[in-house]
Amino acid sequence: MTEILIDLGFGEDLADVLAKYLGAGLLAGIFLLLPLFTIWIERKGAARFQMRVGPNRVGPYGLIQNFADVIKLLGKELIFPRNVDRLTFMLAPILMVTSVVGIVAVLPLAPTVIGTDLSIGVLYFISVSSLATIAVVMAGWGSNNKYALLGAFRTVAQLISYEIPLIFSLLIPVLLVGTMSMQGIVEFQGTYWLILYAPTAAVIFLLSNIAEIGRAPFDLIEAESELVAGFMIEYSGMAFAMFYLAEFLHAFLVAVIFAVLFLGGWQGPFAEDLPILGIVYLAAKTFFIYLVMMWVRMTLPRFRIDHLMDFNWKFLVPLSVAHLLVTGFVWRLFPDTDLSGGLFSRLVDEFPRMAVMGLSSVALGIVALSLLRQYAANQRQRILSLTTVDEEYALAITPQTTAQSSVVVVTSGD
């Protein structure tokens, strides 16, 4: 690219800078257009999960529906309610999209295709996506609306809390590989994928990321049925669409990051010789994770706010800290295996270490879950013992109420 620009008559310095800008713009542009497609998948998938057909009028299988929606949104008026803080109100959606698009820079798409292989790639991912919190707070405050403000309050509580297990579970791949560079983490997984070393950490990572995006069952930030739309209640037209875009792009990028960190990224047969294959492998893994996230979103009802907090502080945080300690300890028990040999010898040499690490991680997860079951059973017992004879009679008529009302209150209205 730089050479072409020099040929066109630009100076060498300027050409270099321009080429970088163009590359960044191209990469960001591709990813910004992706939601047009992923939203279609989401709609179709959601429809199938809920025994509907989904969009099917515009174009084959409703494929062009989203383009029609974009044109509709572009044509809509951008309404400024009275007394909004104009600058804050307008900057919030822009900052939201920026914070999400920033993640694209460190995604290793193929052995040779990466925006920039920062030595602190993982840290960059966390710090850039933490900027989304500010955008939500700005939107909530700038709207001058109590529902929006409530949404913003919930956001701060939720996003900052869930950042902790997110970072701790992210530290485990970093600890195992010994680098924060995304490309380095992918290269390590040429032998075994990291999900085999730390399956529990992978699950924690996915859960806390779903909470960070604010999707069901963690969608208390928007919660249509109680806060109407939370922090974006006052937005209309493209400003609203930008929040929507940011959410879907974030969900997709989280799936990519998960595939990169735990599922080997672009690793696959012949990927090192043919970079395009790497992109195909990564896309396949990403869409699998995206499907899992969609599945969770469509199946589970929304958490209650206190359960959401308890789930994080009393379950995910202790579990992720314990996991980090166990992983560090077990990892030290094994000497580093020589990873320079052929694939087969590497697979054999690395197997015992991988197996022990994976088993210790699974054991930790099982212990945590059984503790949780024990606790829940005790709680249920306590509630039952508190009820009087009349209530027991009432319970006999409607058997599930006591046991379930403490778990689930609101269902998602998506």
Binding site: L123, S127, V137
Partner: protein, 180 residues
């Protein structure tokens, strides 16, 4: 001095940092001030990048903007009455302006050779400019090793960790409702 891309970036980040800082103290709306504080911190993060310290830059964004500034915003939002106060209740701005100018002058004398000619005396620290290529690129590994070896900073690191843990427990004790 020729204008390179680095110096252009430096210019942008310094304007962000200084302008943000100025806006923090001059804006009358506390919420806006807090947002400007974030802008200023972001400019500082950019300066860290230019100083070949990407780790510091990322931590600056994560900790200062992503956590501390957010908590400041949160505190401001929860105390609505202190927002939108249009009148200043004191007239200390003249004093603070003088103090700020004095500190700035002192920094100028120390770090740049500007004052040496004026006062005919060696006042500056006589800093020399390193060529960019000579600057050691400090990797995360090196920081980690420095934190965990006896030759490095293991004792201060452990003391700070203990202090932070104590502060954390203290915060919980203070915030906790009395159960008695």
């Amino acid at each position: 001095m020729e204008l390179t891309w680095e110096s252009l970036a430096f210019l942008i980040f310094s304007v962000l940092s200084l302008g943000g800082g100025l806006a923090v103290v001059t804006l009358r709306n506390l919420f806006h001030s807090a947002l400007m504080l974030m802008l200023s911190l972001f400019g500082t993060a950019g300066l860290f990048v230019l100083l070949v310290a990407p780790f510091l830059a990322a931590v600056q964004v994560l900790v200062y903007i992503g956590a501390i500034a957010i908590l400041i915003l949160f505190a401001i939002m929860l105390t609505r009455t202190i927002m939108g106060v249009q009148t200043t209740y004191n007239s200390q701005w003249i004093g603070s302006a003088i103090a700020a100018l004095l500190v700035f002058g002192l920094l100028l004398l120390t770090f740049t050779p500007l004052g040496d000619d004026v006062f005919d005396e060696q006042l500056s620290a006589n800093l020399e400019e390193d060529p960019v290529d000579d600057v050691d690129y400090v990797t995360v590994e090196e920081i980690g090793i420095a934190f965990s070896t006896r030759a490095g900073f293991v004792l201060p690191f452990e003391i700070v960790s203990l202090l932070l843990t104590a502060a954390l427990i203290g915060a919980i004790v203070v915030a906790r409702e009395d159960e008695a």
